[in-house]
């Protein structure tokens, strides 16, 4: 599986802890969302990360877009089912094969009215 996909993930700041736990529940490391962003240019309102991804991740994103959340042991990660679905619902995810990551990040932030801090 080739990591040729560019993936941008953005979470509202008030969902940061839950979003990181979603990452844990899906088998990723903690503290994935490390870069702050803002909707007003001064206050941190969101955190985001970019990751290289493969076709498995892309398929998971497509399923999520169709309303099918990935199966995950969210309880082991410290989330209730409500917290798990809320964090997923408020997560902004974009996955593109072969995209330039800097350009991709910029487009996703702009499309959601955000600027990096």
């Amino acid at each position: 599986m080739a990591y040729t996909y560019s993936a941008v993930l953005v979470t509202p700041a008030d969902q940061l802890e839950a979003a990181n736990k979603v990452g844990l529940a899906l088998g990723y490391s903690n503290n994935e969302f490390t870069v702050p962003a803002s909707s007003d240019g001064t206050t941190i309102t969101h955190y985001y990360c970019h990751t290289w991804a493969n076709e498995v991740f892309d398929a998971m994103v497509k399923c999520l877009g169709e309303g099918t959340p990935p199966a995950a042991d969210y309880e082991a990660a410290g989330l209730t089912v409500e917290q798990y679905f809320t964090a997923l619902l408020r997560l902004i995810v974009s996955c593109r094969d072969g995209a330039d990551p800097a350009q991709h990040v910029g487009e996703v932030l702009t499309a959601n009215g955000l600027v990096p801090l």
């Binding site: 080739a2 490391s29 994935e32 072969g98 800097a102 990040v105």
Partner: protein, 511 residues
Amino acid sequence: MALFRRIKPPFSLKTLQKDPSCVLIQDPSAIWGGADHLPRRNLLIATDTLATQNVTVTAESHTLHIQGTGSVTLSGTGSGTLSGTGANDRVSLVFTPTAGTLTLTVSGTVTFGMLCKSSVLDRGYQKITDWTTEQYAHAATNPKPWLRRNRLLNTATLSTQTVTAVTANPMTVSFTGTGTITFSTAYSGSLVGTGASDRVTATFTPAAGNLVCTVTGTVTLAQVEVGSAATPYQEVGASWAATYTSLAIAAGYPISLYSDRAGTVATYGPDDPVGVLLDGSEGYAMGPELVTNGTLATDTGWTKGTGWTIDGVGNCSNASAASLAQSISITTGKRYLVSGSVLTCTSGMVRLLADGTDIVAAQSASTGYRQTIVVATSTGASDFGFRSNSSGFAGTVDNFSVREIPGYHATSPSDAARPVLRLDGNGRWYLDRDTTDDALAVTWPANFTTTAAQYVADQTTTTETTGITLNGATSYTTPQRPTGDYGRVIFKTPTSNAAKVNKYLDKKAGR
């Protein structure tokens, strides 16, 4: 007058490793076996007589070469038309696409097509039938075991599975046992076993796609490989990546790049992430074995938890969260390669126990070699060994090992921050970072040095920076996309060999 002049050896990795002031070498090209990957210059397939096809390209200058009287029209991420002028005339078109999928639409007769990055030095025609075939053909001429690949998983006793993305080229299946493998989807047919010790083989050419292998009865030591003849059986466990790691370890090749942050699986090819990058300044050497009686030859040196016994191997009788462990003296901050083998697994799962912690990433519900790299969190005695997980483990283990890996190694701070190993158009390896959060961090000792000099090679230049303070610092590598990171060397104090280091790194980047 001297008849012979002594020839000085070239400045090399070994020269750097012997320099006592050299404290870090990060070398993406040190992927073992990496030099044996066939450098791909031609991005097209079926190139002798070209057909319409899509190619994933990056946003940089490319050159298309063709012969014949037909034409190729670009669309998608690029535009333009290249028209042939004759069967023996070679014409070319230089263009810069945006990143993404480029469509090349062929009309008329176009032969000997080649699309490569314009930075590629050797643009002589490279015939590509399809990429998988090229890789396997190359592997067949090379003795390194991981270059040949059994496409099945859990091959000791086979169960029904699908081999994905086979190509329309000859494949050979072989196995022992009295059962049957029935193929479907990409190929229709079956191979019937003739006995527990008889090896049966068959060669067929599937259609491109997924090859479904349905197993009935007992099929053992099974292999499906590209090629028209069966090669010696290669056992594969639950994942090819883990098998690849164990094959290289067994063959005595050092592993310098790992795709996961726990150091359980090697980075084994282009477009694979890098979670751990080992420092080459110590030559990827390993310290002495720290385990007593790691082969479990005798019932000594181990503390047996509930359900564990030793009789030449370690046996666990389905106890849950029980350890077979021994106390080993370690030093905080140092890294240790911890490994062991699961010989049999009747039920449940077993993990490696390292520095008193269960390594879930090295958990296994199947047989095979497992490893992890841990950073010691304290100085003194700590527990290492095997531990059954909470659901228990019934099976046997063997060959436990703990060895220090000297040097200052780099780890990505998170999974999302892992850079990806890439192969450029000239067959040179580099780290691709996203410029957002990708990083590989090295933690330096306190009171280390304030006079370090760093040399970093990217695609355009090698940069020297002096007067760097490393005292107790966590050094994050600088994002460098799109030019990539071909190598990095740090000296504790300024080196008199600066010009040679620059030359060494320039060579890594193809200059």
